[in-house]
Structures are given as C-alpha cells and as structure tokens.
Amino acid sequence: MNPQLVYALAGAWICAIGLRGFMGEVDTFRRILGANLLGSGIFLVLVAVARRAPDGPPDPVPHAMVLTGIVVSVSGTALLLALLARLHEEHREEGEGNE
C-alpha cells in the first residue's frame, strides 16, 4: 500500500465531509465552504490517482484537469460569495426600510 493511497483515501473522506457540509448545513456560508471542501477532496483524489505508478513521472493529464478544476471552482465560489454578500445587503436595506 504505497503512501499515495493514503492521500487518495483522505481525498475521498474530504469529499464526504464536504458533501455533508453542503447538504447538512443550513447557513449558506457554511454550504459554500462545504462545496469548496468537496472540490479540494476531488482534486486530491485525482492527483493521488495520477501518482499510482510507483516509479517514473506522475501522469500529467489529471494534473492539467485539476489546474483547470481549481480555477473553475474558485470562479464559481467568487460569484457565490458576491451573491451572498449582495443578499445580506438587500436584507439589511429591507430591515432599515421597514423598521
């Protein structure tokens, strides 16, 4: 059981925790953190899988996919946070408005 399998299993359980965070939490900020953890877990699985061959260079294709995946998940998260912040501002304005 070479060491990279430990990283893959860790990635699997980070995915599980991220999914629990996303589905199990009610507060949207925690759900966004959960979605990010799910993404990091998937990338850890992908790269650990790329390192399965005991010797020689790792497989560059999953590395390229994870590079692309990181930028996609960060741009999604950024838009989510902008929406969440805007939502709170709207509620605060409504709060001030009809108090």
Partner: protein, 498 residues
C-alpha cells in the same frame, strides 16, 4: 471525402467570437451587434447539417491530437439536430430580447447590455456541449453554461432573483463536482476521458458502476430531475422572460442530452440492475409532483417553471424503456429527443409570451391577467399553442415523442409507466387550461396596459417549430439515425424508415 477544415467547430466558434467582439466594440456600436450576430450564429449550423445529411458523422480531433490524448468533437445526426434546435431557439430569443431590454437610464442599460456577451457565450457552450465526447470537457462546458445562466438570471430579474440565482449556482457547482468525481473514477480505470473509448473497454466492474452513478447524480441535479429540482422553479420564475426561455428551453434540455448520450454510448451495460427502475420511479414522481405544483401556482412564470420539472420527469423515463430486449429500440431514443426538443421550443415560446403579458399587465399573477385575451389575443394564443405541445397533442413532435414512449412502455408491458405518461398528459392539460382560462376571463374594468416593444414573430416561430418537426418526422428520424449508437430497424411511424 475529408470534411472542410473548420466545419465542426464553426457553430461553437461563431457565438464566442461574437461575445468577444461585443466586449471589444465601443458601447454605442455594441448594441447593433445583437440581431445580426444572432442570425450569423444560427446560420453557422447549416453547413454542418448539410454535411452530416450527405456524408455522415465526423470525428474532429481538436488541436490535431487523437482521442486518448486530445479532445474530439463528434458531429453526428443527434448533435446536428440539436444544434439546429439551439440555432432556431437562440435566434428567436435574441430578436425578442432585443426588444425586451430597452434599458432607459445609463446604469440600467449598462447592466442589461450584459445580456448579449453572456447569452452568446452560453450559446457557444451549448453547441460545444452537444458536440463534445470528452467527460472532463463536458464538466467544464456544464460549468460554463451554469455560471452563464446565473449571470443571465441577475439581469433585471424580479425581487427574488438574487436568492434564486445563488441557490441555482450552489446546486450547479455541486452537481458539476459530482459529475467530475464520476469522471475521475472512469479515468482512473480506463486512462481516457473519451466516451467512445470508454464504451469499448466497458467490462461491468463495480468501480465503473460507482463512477456512472456519480455522473448520473450530477446530471440529475443539473437537469432538475424530481428529488433535486427545488432550485429550478424560483430561478426560472424570477428571471427576465428571455432568460427564463434560455434556461428552461435550452440549458435544461442540454443537460438531459448529455445523460442520453452517455447512456446510449454503451454505459447502459454498466448500469446496475436497479438503476433504470429508480430513474423511472423518479421520473413518474417528477411528472406528478411538477404537474400538481403547477396546478396550484398563482403566477404564470412559476406555473411554467413547474411544468419544466414535470416534463423533465417524462424524459428520464426513456432509460427504463431502452433495453436490449426491444428490437430496433432506436425509435425510443428518437422519441425522447423529439420530446426534449419540442418541450424546449414550446417552453421558450411560452416564457416569451408570459413575458409580454407581464410587461403589459405589470405582473404575471393569474388573477391580474383577466381580460388579457381581448387586449393581447396573439400572446394568449401562443400560450395555448405551447400548452398544446406540452400536452402532446398531434401533430406536434411532442405527440410523436409521447406516442413512441407509450408504445415502448406497452411493448415492454410496463403498464405503470404507460399510466403515468397518460396521467402526465392530463395534468399538463389541466395547468395549460388554467393559465389560458385566467386570460380569457373578461376584465371587470378596462385596464390600460403598458406598450410592449418586444416583437411577436419570434414567439410564433418557437411555437410553430414543433409542428414543423412533427410533419417532417421521417426526415428528422433519418437525420437522428446518422451515426446514432442504436439501430433504427423498426421505426413504428406509418411508412417507417426507407
């Protein structure tokens, strides 16, 4: 006969070039790009259609690198048919949107102008989604369409648009990630992301089962199948009308087509025995739940959004009905495509008509639309006609699809599914009549209505297109059979396939 060099990528490249040119042009010229741009993007599909009809499918390796290493675009009958659907719906929506977003003051104009780059990028993404054969590429394209859809929802949406957009983006992101996790497992077993190559190596082994289950879970979230559909109604109901037309008509259908392509590329051998029954149960529940909720809605756009959930339930029935036992089960596959396309066209037309009524009457509440039939007869008629397609009455393509699914269900004596198909037709009749009846009621006092600047003919095109497909059903069947992964030996329609 080698295809001309740039044929397959044209429908993807043209909308994206338009988006880039829109951003580079100075503001005052950018607005003139909308209508001609939409027309060029629509026309860009015709050479592909012509080539596929004459010479059959093309497999285009992007960058010149062959499949396991590079990414391949695969132009076959299905992708040509769907790109034609995207072109027709996209052009109609663009002409309607040009009138819908006048944008009076500068700030509002600056934001509503953003509709065009987002819309063109989503259009390019949709064409790429239908052409691509690479699992990871499908993931990136689904994210492109998802984030583009969120941006579109925010353009002049109603009050609840921000919350609806956030929930939609959350679900789209997690759905995409589950899809990516499934694709990662597939890659780690077969060392390739290409659908056809994976299909060749498919030995039913548990790792690929888990991968397929995750991919289907991701797609079910994105296609809003029953248990994971809660994000759809608020998102589609609160967006501006052309945006709802894009989301409900094009984006949801595209996610379904990816599932269809996966299933028939050979992944159905992989599926564990109990997966198709689960999908059909979820589909039936989706039909009933979406229809029942639509019957209870008081707002027209929300009614149409729930109708989308119900119709998506229909489409997922095909996985249970398509098994090896059926001789020549290509026509079940074609039936599902007919239903998906006719629903997309009819729903886009319905949302645009609802948008006209909302701008005229200030709200889309059914109680407020009394007397609409007298002041806006054409819009109400369009609503009725699109309802007709949802019901699946002849001679539209919706009817052909539903009829084929019904016969397939009876041929496999799945009487439960057949019953739900008929029940679904009844329910969709129910909510269509409810919507149209609300407009037919005479208004107590004559209400002055705001002028509507969006043109009428795009809605006409959208609502009549399924009839055209219904009439040319055999040609459509021949087109779909080109490069199709299933055989079409016994096409049940009268006259069958030559």
């Amino acid at each position: 006969m080698t295809p001309p060099p740039f044929l397959v990528e044209l429908p993807v490249a043209v909308p994206m070039v338009l988006a880039v040119v829109w951003l580079l042009l100075p503001r005052r010229f950018a607005r003139f790009l909308a209508r001609p741009g939409a027309l060029t993007a629509a026309v860009a599909v015709l050479p592909c259609l012509h080539w596929v009809w004459r010479h059959g499918p093309i497999r285009q390796p992007l960058g010149g690198w062959m499949a396991p290493l590079g990414i391949d675009l695969y132009l076959d009958g299905l992708s040509a048919f769907l790109m034609l659907f995207h072109a027709c719906a996209g052009a109609a929506i663009s002409f309607s949107a040009a009138g819908y977003f006048p944008g009076s003051d500068a700030a509002d104009r600056q934001r509503t102008d953003l509709f065009w780059p987002l819309f063109f990028l989503v259009w390019g993404g949709l064409n790429s989604l239908v052409l691509s054969l690479d699992l990871f590429n499908l993931f990136v394209t689904l994210e492109l369409i998802g984030i583009g859809g969120v941006g579109l929802i925010l353009i002049r949406g109603d009050a609840g648009a921000t919350r609806a957009a956030m929930e939609y983006l959350l679900q789209a992101l997690v759905g995409g990630m589950l899809f990516l996790l499934g694709a990662a497992l597939m890659y780690s077993r077969t060392a390739t992301m290409d659908l056809h190559l994976i299909a060749e190596m498919l030995t039913p082994d548990p790792v690929l089962n888990i991968g397929l289950a995750l991919i289907l879970a991701g797609l079910m979230v994105k296609a809003a199948l029953f248990p994971m559909h809660f994000w759809l109604p608020p998102a589609h109901a609160n967006a501006a009308a052309p945006v709802s037309a894009v989301l409900s008509g094009l984006v949801v259908t595209a996610a379904y087509v990816v599932a269809l392509r996966l299933w028939y590329a050979g992944f159905h051998q992989l599926a564990p025995m109990m997966l198709p029954p689960i999908l059909s149960v979820l589909g039936c529940l989706g039909i009933v739940w979406g229809g029942a909720m639509a019957l209870r809605q008081d707002r027209l756009k929300r009614l149409l959004a729930y109708s989308t959930v119900s119709q998506m339930g229909y489409l997922f029935l095909v996985f249970a009905l398509a098994s090896e036992a059926l001789p020549g089960q290509g026509w079940v596959w074609a039936g599902a495509v007919y239903m998906a396309v006719s629903h997309g066209l009819a729903k886009a037309g319905a949302f645009l008509a609802a948008g006209r009524l909302q701008t005229a009457y200030g709200s889309d509440r059914l109680s407020a639309l009394a007397g609409a039939a007298s002041t806006h007869p054409l819009a109400v008629m369009m609503l009725a006609l699109s309802g007709l397609h949802l019901m699946g009455l002849p001679p539209g393509a919706g009817f052909a699809g539903k009829w084929i699914l019904l016969m397939a269900a009876m041929a496999k004596d799945q009487w439960g599914i057949a019953a739900f198909i008929l029940l679904g037709g009844l329910i969709s009749a129910g909510y269509t009549v409810r919507a149209v009846e609300a407009c037919l009621r005479p208004a107590e006092s004559p209400i002055e209505t705001a002028p509507v600047r969006a043109p009428m003919f795009p809605i006409l095109i959208l609502v009549l297109a399924p009839f055209v497909i219904g009439i040319l059903l055999e040609e459509a069947g021949v087109l779909l059979s080109i490069g199709a992964p299933v055989d079409f030996s016994e096409f049940p329609m009268p006259g069958g396939l030559r």
